[in-house]
């Protein structure tokens, strides 16, 4: 599994190098400098491709080796109970969604309202499989966003979007 991941990572690295290399031709500068602003990006691009190649090659070789020596490794079955508490990729995707909406609404709606909603939903996402105390969640969400807002604006003098409440 981790070997296949290395092949993937290596390929991404090669792709990054190629993209960087082509983009570097769009960089403009005074004409007559031998080492200009496109020099280091191009070096980096070449290194990306080389390192990506090495990593993919290592991954490929290791996969072959694993195939010949280990016929089949015992598949560990996950406990049903454990799976209930294991997050997996879905909570990550939900978290990103909630964070994205939060940031998008931050300026128009304001810090307090969006933060309170964000905290509430993020707690719900992270408390997968646990007993949920919704009353506590609401109190924590509301209190922490209000306290954070006034603490930072009044005491620490940091600008935070006030939005529709401001």
């Amino acid at each position: 599994m981790s070997r296949n991941k290395d092949i993937l990572t290596g390929s991404v690295s090669i792709a990054l190098g190629l993209i960087l290399f082509f983009l570097s031709f769009q960089v403009k500068d005074f004409a007559s400098v031998s080492v200009g602003p496109e020099f280091l990006p191009r070096i980096a691009a070449v290194l990306f491709v080389v390192l990506g190649g090495v990593l993919s090659y290592q991954g490929l070789k290791a996969t072959r080796l694993a195939r010949t020596t280990v016929a089949a490794s015992p598949v560990v079955k996950k406990d049903a109970a454990e799976a209930k508490y294991h997050g997996g990729m879905l909570p990550v995707a939900y978290s990103l969604l909630v964070m994205g909406v939060y940031i998008a609404l931050l300026k128009p709606v304001g810090f307090i309202i969006t933060s309170a909603l964000f905290i509430f939903f993020q707690i719900i996402i992270l408390s997968k499989g646990l007993k949920r105390n919704y009353f506590l969640f609401v109190v924590v969400s509301a209190l922490s966003s209000v306290i954070a807002y006034y603490l930072f604006v009044r005491v620490f003098q940091v600008m935070i979007p006030a939005g529709i409440l401001g």
Binding site: K5, T9, S34, E38, P41, L65, I119, L130
Partner: protein, 496 residues
């Protein structure tokens, strides 16, 4: 200058900030899932409105407290509160399981303090000297140091040199965005005017170290088991004078390892505690007892991780290169207040430098007092569930990213780096090289081009100038050794 600097922190406000920073640092360090780096990043926005010495005193308090605080959960819960106390679990928890939690905590706290103070002495004497040497450095030397730091971190922080280098390259590439150095032509901005100034350090750091962590916790999910906390009362210091005398050799070795690794750019507590533990075991007369709950293991781990704090500040304050992840955030703290750490710092801001030294000493003293007297409180806070804590941490991240320039764009940057950090973790690519590439990228590029201007396009001075050449040779040796080591490891695997 030295005395003015030291006196500058003895105001009520600064003292409260150091004390508060240390206490909060201990708590954040003790809570698994919140690292010292994350804690310091969260508190950066708090310092926006402060005087530089107040701000840096607070950050130093958090750094010292946080690095030590990890031992509490390492011993009581068998979960390292921060990566810097991984090796503390090895012997700390067996001891606690035997009913000697108080002793384990006492040893951990005292040696944290001693290790921290040892490294501060080193910082106090080495930093001004090194700054003086660094004043002579020109473009060639800075370029070589940059390359050396990047390869060193790439080789040592993840196990795979190739992955480490890819990570460093990603960091380097991100710095290409924005105005190119020297000629100030925008490049790689994709037409976005927000990118003209490049990507700000702070949102990137918060994303990499805080948001990525939240995503990881979301993926890991919950284990619905209440942690069992052992009896944590400490009698006296928890250990005898005889035991103290037996550990003197171990202490100095671990302190030297911690400070030394701390000084190396990008490598800090997370690595040195394991190295020091390994060294203590190897040198011990009874290596088989390690892991069963002996004092030696805790001494090695806790001495070295706190000894790395003073060490990590050496390159930061003399060269502007962070010695570990947390000092990278502290670097951002300096920059926010318009101070650029580097060899000139000792000339232009000498009072501030010695103020920071004093703040570090005071913070270490606060740390030992607070941990001995406030253990009951810290243990109680450990039981705050992560699923409630992390979302609150997230909104503080947003304040930190937004508050710097009052742009939502920076918050998006933070999220982008959070995702990047998470994906890299999944691909087992270490994030420290990226961080260092990001910080050193501009230095490497500017100095390369400046050096080439000076030599009229000739590359040879980078190799023939004595200091620069030596550093590049060392870099080459490090790479050769790492490659050889990986090669041997692979062969060994094949043989089995």
């Amino acid at each position: 200058m030295v005395i003015t600097g030291i006196l500058s922190i003895f105001t009520v406000k600064t003292m409260i900030l150091i004390f508060g920073g240390t206490a909060i640092g201990i708590i954040l360090g003790a809570i698994p899932g919140i690292t010292v780096t994350m804690g310091v990043a969260l508190f950066l926005p708090v310092t926006f409105g402060m005087q530089p010495i107040e701000a840096l005193s607070l950050l130093m308090g958090l750094y010292i407290g946080g690095t030590s605080g990890g031992l509490i959960s390492a011993i009581l819960l068998k979960i390292p509160g921060t990566p810097a106390s991984i090796a503390t679990c090895f012997d700390g928890h067996p001891m606690a399981a035997r009913g000697e939690a108080g002793k384990a905590l006492g040893v951990g706290i005292v040696y944290s303090f001693l290790g921290g103070m040892f490294s501060l002495l080193v910082l106090f004497f080495i930093a001004p000297w090194l700054a003086n040497v660094a004043l002579q450095f020109g473009s060639y030397e800075y370029f070589s140091i940059g390359i050396f730091s990047l390869t060193l971190v790439a080789g040592m922080s993840g196990g795979s040199l190739v992955k480490g280098l890819i990570s460093a390259l990603v960091g380097l590439t991100i710095t290409f965005i924005g105005m190119a150095p020297i000629t100030a032509f925008p490049r790689f901005t994709f037409g976005l005017s927000e990118l003209d100034g490049g990507i700000s350090l702070l949102p990137a750091l918060i994303g990499l170290f805080a948001v990525a962590q939240i995503l990881e916790e979301a993926e890991a999910g919950n284990k619905d088991s209440k942690p069992i906390i052992a009896d944590y009362r400490i009698k006296g210091f928890g250990f005898s004078l005889k035991e103290f005398r037996e550990q003197i050799g171990n202490f100095f070795r671990s302190a030297a390892i911690g400070t030394g690794i701390g000084i190396l750019p990008g490598l800090g507590g997370a690595i040195c505690n394991v190295v020091a533990y390994g060294a203590a075991q190897k040198q011990s007369k009874y290596p088989e007892k390690f892991g069963t709950g002996i004092v030696d293991g805790i001494v090695a781990s806790e001495t070295s991780n706190n000894a790395s704090t003073g060490g990590a500040l050496v390159p930061l304050m003399t060269l502007g290169i962070p010695g570990d992840n947390t000092t990278a955030i502290i670097l951002a703290g300096f920059l926010i207040h318009g101070i650029t750490p580097g060899p000139l710092l000792f000339d232009t801001n000498g009072v501030l430098v010695y103020g920071i030294f004093a703040a570090l000493v005071v913070s270490n003293i606060f740390m030992i007092i607070t941990e001995f007297s406030g253990m009951r409180l810290f243990v109680r806070i450990l039981s705050v569930p992560k699923h409630i804590l992390l979302p609150v941490v997230a909104i503080l991240c947003v304040i930190g990213a937004y508050g710097l320039n009052n742009r939502v764009f920076d918050v998006w940057t933070m999220l982008f780096f959070g995702v990047l950090g998470f994906v890299m973790k999944k691909a087992s690519i270490p994030s420290t090289p990226l961080l260092l590439g990001f910080i050193l990228g501009p230095i490497v590029e500017i100095e390369l081009r400046r050096g080439l201007m000076k030599s009229r396009g000739d590359f040879t001075p980078f190799f023939t100038e004595p200091i620069s050449g030596t550093i590049l040779v060392i870099t080459f040796i490090v790479v050769a050794f790492t490659v050889w080591g990986e090669f041997k490891k692979r062969k060994l695997k094949k043989g089995v």
